[in-house]
Each structure stands twice: as C-alpha cells, then as structure tokens.
C-alpha cells in the first residue's frame, strides 16, 4: 500500500482527492521540503502559483546563509571537480566539510590542469577537528570562534593586521598559492561569516587566484535555488499569496509560519530523504514521500525515488550542477507507463511531479476564492 489518510491505508486516488480537498480549503498553504528531483520541484512551484501558497526548502537555513552573502556582496566560487583539477592549496574551514569526504580526495591528488599543474597540493585546516587519516596542516582556532577567525585571516591577508600572529603563516600561504580554494559549509559558519569569507576570497584575487567552495546541503537546496530562479526570478522562499512571487526569507520560513499559526495547510515534498519537521504533526499536512511509513502526516502518498525508480534531474554535488541521474533499475518502459497518478499498476509508484500535476488539475476544479487574483499571475 502506498497511500494513507490519518494512518489508515487507502487507495492512492482517494488520498490524492483528500489532499486536494485539504489544500483547497486552506487560506495560507505552504509547500515545504522540496527535497526532490527538479521536475517535482518545478511542479511544486507551479502548484504554489496556482493556489497562492508559499514555498520553503528543507535546506532553507543553510542555503540562505550563503544566498545572503551572495546577494550582498557577490561571490567567486568554484566546484569540487575544478578544485580537484586545479588547486595547489585547499583551506578547509570548520568541522562540517570533513564529513563530506572531499578533503580526503583532495589530499591524495595534485593539480593536473591550469597554472598550478604539476605542483604539489597543500591541504590546510582551520577550526576543524581534521581527519587523522588525511595528511593536512592544522591551524589553531581562536577562542572567539570561526567567524572571528575568518575576519582575522582577511585582515592579515590584506595587510591591515601586521606583526607575529598564529595565523600569519596561513595568510602568507594563501597569498602565495597559485590557485587557492576555501572549502566551507554555510550552515556551519553562518551568513555574516560567509560574506566575510567571500570578501577574503575577493581580496586574495587582487594578488592571485582563489575561490570559495561552499559545500552543498544534502537536501537538493541548490537545485531548488535554480528552479526557483528560472520559475520566479527570485530565491526559493517565495509566496504567491498575492498572485505574484514575493521573495521574503523571513516571512516564508515555514517553521516560523507554523510557529506563529500563519499556515493552515502544508504539503511536504520529500521524494528523497529529508528530516520531517515537527510542525507537520500540528499543521494539516499532505506528505509526498519516497520512503513513507504512513503515519507521517494527515495524508501520506508514496512516490517514486528519483534516480532509483526512474531517471531524474538531481543536484550533482561533485559537479555542483543539476545533472541527469539514470534509474537504478532497468524497468524504464514500465515506469514510463505508470507515471500518471492513480495508474493501474499498484506496485509501481508514480513520480512526485505526476502527483503534484494531478493535484493542480483537481484544485483547478475547486471554486476560486479570489477570482480577481488569477489575472495577475
């Protein structure tokens, strides 16, 4: 069984009808999670536009730490693949990047392309526990924390702070590198430090080449950012309550909206694994899940896992781009036939995009609460 209402297994068509009814009656719906393939995220933005919902990806907080810095001062970034091919110096900031496996890969290789080709690669760490199995040079973190250290490093690199200092050697190594890369996790260091880090990188580009490498979240946040940009021209946290996409990272934070009672219905989209927030128990919620148990929300509908059940466009962390991922199983023709929601084969799950399109079609049949609004979409 792949659909549930109040924890009771039901036919998928019944669950989709209940989901449509739940969303149709809502005054302030939110579509959250968005941890899914690009087609499903696109369908979520289309549905939100049609029903006046707001959107917030599961990746929201960390994503906005980086987007805020980008919007304020710009960024000079590179990808993991380019860092592996070109960097002769990699600085790993904080603890989170060590969990990604990237430092280990960088440590055993050396640059093969560009101006640093043939040089050895130095792997440096600041403010993180490092990894005993990976050869690197660790610099001590100050008591004031990583954001303060990033500022200090920027002052040293620019020569505004002089004299002997524990980080002075790190600053001179950054200035002396041919192709430096600074690896960080925006959710670990926060928005202010991310902006400072991008400032450091820009300062270094006065004398050499250096790039920031923000590690992506595991919840498709960077793919959502791109879908939101091409769908609305704005960042992911937009609301269509007034018919047009309004970008407001504070107002459309789904957790904040749930806390303040501003939303009366939600659709949680996670065809890939994402932690289910506690508010989905309080707010009447429809959950489209790749791995459902049935009791996660008022209405739960199982959907195919992208990149396993069917081929899909997903975030590729190493290429830092949306890329096509083939289905894991070789059942492509049968899968194609079953894409439509409520398809007769109960053993094959439909895609989340198909369910969302079905919901949008059903919702179009409900009476429009504010007819004037539709003209401005």
């Amino acid at each position: 069984m792949t659909a549930w209402i109040d924890g009771q297994a039901v036919e998928r068509g019944t669950a989709v009808a209940a989901a449509a009814s739940l969303l149709a009656e809502a005054h302030g719906p939110v579509i959250a999670g968005l941890c899914a393939e690009a087609a499903a995220v696109q369908a979520a933005y289309d549905l939100a536009r049609a029903i006046g919902a707001s959107l917030d990806p599961a990746a929201g907080a960390g994503l906005y730490a980086d987007l805020g810095a980008l919007a304020s001062g710009g960024a000079m970034t590179t990808t993991p693949a380019e860092a592996r091919g070109r960097a002769d110096l990699v600085l790993v900031l904080g603890a989170a990047p060590w969990a990604s496996g990237l430092p280990g890969d960088l440590a055993v290789e050396a640059p093969v392309r560009g101006r640093a080709a043939g040089q050895p690669r130095a792997l440096l760490a600041l403010g993180g526990p490092g990894d005993g199995g990976v050869r690197h040079v660790a610099y001590p973190a100050g008591e004031a924390g990583l954001p303060a250290d990033i500022g200090l490093l920027r002052g040293l690199v620019a020569g505004r702070i002089a004299g002997p200092h524990p980080l002075a050697d790190l600053a001179s190594r950054l200035r002396g590198a041919l192709y430096g890369v600074v690896v960080y996790d925006p959710s670990e260091i926060g928005a202010l430090a991310a902006e400072m880090l991008n400032g450091l990188v820009k300062d270094l580009n006065e004398v050499t080449r250096c790039f920031a490498l923000p590690l992506g979240d595991p919840h498709q946040g960077r793919a959502v950012t791109q879908v939101a940009a091409w769908s609305t021209g704005q960042g992911p946290r937009v609301g269509f309550g007034r018919g047009r996409p309004e970008h407001d990272p504070w107002r459309f934070d789904a957790a904040r909206q749930a806390e303040s009672g501003e939303i009366d219905a939600a659709l949680w989209l996670a065809s890939l694994p994402a932690p289910l927030p506690a508010w989905t128990r309080r707010v009447p919620t429809v959950a489209l899940l790749g791995a459902p148990t049935g009791d996660e929300a008022r209405v739960v509908i199982g959907v195919g896992v992208p990149g396993e059940a069917f081929g899909a466009a997903l975030w590729h962390p190493r290429r830092a781009a949306i890329a096509w991922q083939e289905a894991a199983r070789q059942e492509a023709p049968r899968q194609e036939a079953a894409r439509g929601a409520g398809a007769p084969q109960p053993d094959v799950l439909p895609s989340a995009a198909a369910i969302l399109a079905d919901l949008q079609a059903r919702l179009a049949a409900f009476p429009v609460s504010n007819p004037e609004r539709s003209a401005s979409c």
Partner: protein
C-alpha cells in the same frame, strides 16, 4: 486624528503606504476597499479594521499585533501612533514624519529609512535598522529609538542615521557602512565586518580580535552628539559625556569604524 482599530488579523497584513497623506484623500468607504491582506483572500482594510478618518496628519492604529507588517513604510510627513505591537519592516523606506509604537516591533524596523523618527517603547526583533536580504543598506538617515532590547545585528549594514537602544544582542553594528549606534549594553562581537560608523556602548560582550584599542579619547563630536540627544534619549546623552576608550575596527574590512566605551 484618524483611527484604525484592528478587529482581526487572520493573516499577515501589509500596511505599507497607509500614511496620513494617503488616507487624507480617501473617504472611509474608499479606504475600506484598500487591499492589505497578503494571502489569496485579498483581505481589505475594511475587512480587518474599524475605520474613522478625519483627514488629519495623524493616524492612530489601535489594537495592533505582530502580524502588521510595514507599518509606516513610505511615510514622508505626519505621525503614525501604534498602540500594540507591529510585525516586520516598521517604517521601511520612510523619508520623514514620526512613527511611535507602544509595544514591540518585529525584525528589520527602520530598514532603508532615509528620514524621520521611529520610536519603539518595547523591544525590537533582529536586524532593527538593518538591511533586508540583498539590500544595499539598512537604516539610511532616519532616527530609530528602541526603549527596550534590540535583537541580534542591530544596525546591520546601516548607511546613515542614528540608533539608540537600551540593549542589543550579538553583532550590533555588523557590516555598518556608516552612521551611529548608542546603547547601554551590546552583546558579543559588535561591529563584525563594519567599514565605518560609530558604536557607543556602556557595556559590551566579547570583542573581535580585529578591533584594536586606540587609547582614551576626549572628542568634541561626542559632546555634540550628547547635546543633540538630550531631548530624545537622556540616558544615551549622559553616556556620551563620560570619558571614553576607543577601539578601531573592523580590520577584517576597511577598519574605519570605531567602538567607544567608558574608560575605567
């Protein structure tokens, strides 16, 4: 005095542009049709408020809650008096006039306000006088007085003007471009990334390693600032008359900002 009495706010309401001047040209029936809702219902002013308009240059908002966003946004003259709390972006982009709030304000109070005075009797949320996502500047010439406690990032990326608060959270004056912040107490790491501008605080949390002490200073400009604050905020004025120790920063960036704190 015109009065808007809140009956209910079933969703966040956007009161931008509801200035005395804008309301003066409208009958009560016309004003009641102005859309203030932010959801798909298209709620109007009349749906949510009881209106009494007399065309004067003062508008009183009674029974206000933290769901009222952008109260006083775009104000250029006159007076808006709020009885209760307000939501985000109080007085955003205002160029003149006065906004007073008897309760507390949400985040981004006074963002991009170029002139006029905002006074909040209670507390203010994060980034009071601070910049919105991607915006060029926070407070930009207006005066913002917070009688209670401000959240983190007070005056974030402010470009001009004056903020007076009793207390503020961490990162007061972060990314400041210019302007002045005076507070009795501020939290850790004030002035993170500040380029220019002046912070004055009787007490402060941990300082960044990129701020350096530049000695005890007796500056005429602080006395002049004290004089200008006598009427607006007497406690802040007396703080400015104390002998001051000066720290310069943030040396991570331009480093032309300063933090004054009483010496000894």
């Amino acid at each position: 005095m015109s009065t808007l009495t809140l009956r209910e706010a079933p969703e966040r309401l956007d009161l931008a542009g509801l200035t005395p001047a804008a309301l003066a040209g409208l009958s009560e029936a016309e004003a009641a049709r102005l859309v203030v809702g932010t959801g798909r219902r298209g709620l109007t002013l009349g749906d949510c408020f009881a209106l009494r308009l007399d065309g004067s240059d003062e508008v009183r908002i009674v029974g206000a809650t933290d769901r009222l966003d952008r109260v006083g946004a775009g104000l250029s003259a006159g007076r808006i008096v709020v009885e209760g709390d307000v939501g985000q972006r109080l007085g955003a982009g205002m160029t003149g006039g006065t906004v007073t709030v008897s309760g507390s304000a949400g985040p981004f109070a006074g963002t991009a306000a170029r002139g006029g005075t905002i006074r909040i009797a209670g507390d203010a949320g994060e980034s009071a006088g601070g910049a919105l996502h991607g915006a060029a500047a926070g407070l930009d010439g207006a005066t913002l007085v917070i009688d209670g406690t401000a959240g983190d990032r007070l005056g974030d990326r402010m470009r001009a003007g004056l903020i007076v608060a009793t207390a503020a959270g961490a990162h007061a004056g972060s990314r400041m471009i210019a302007g002045t912040i005076v507070a009795d107490a501020i939290g850790d790491h004030p002035g993170y990334g500040m380029r220019r501008g002046t912070l004055v605080a009787a007490r402060h949390g941990a300082l960044l390693p990129t701020f350096v002490e530049t000695g005890r200073q007796d500056l005429v400009v602080l006395k002049l600032l004290a004089k200008s604050l006598d009427a607006l905020a007497p406690e802040a004025a007396s703080l400015l008359r104390a002998p001051m120790r000066r720290y310069g920063g943030d040396l991570a960036t331009l480093g032309k900002g300063e933090l004054f704190t009483p010496a000894g």
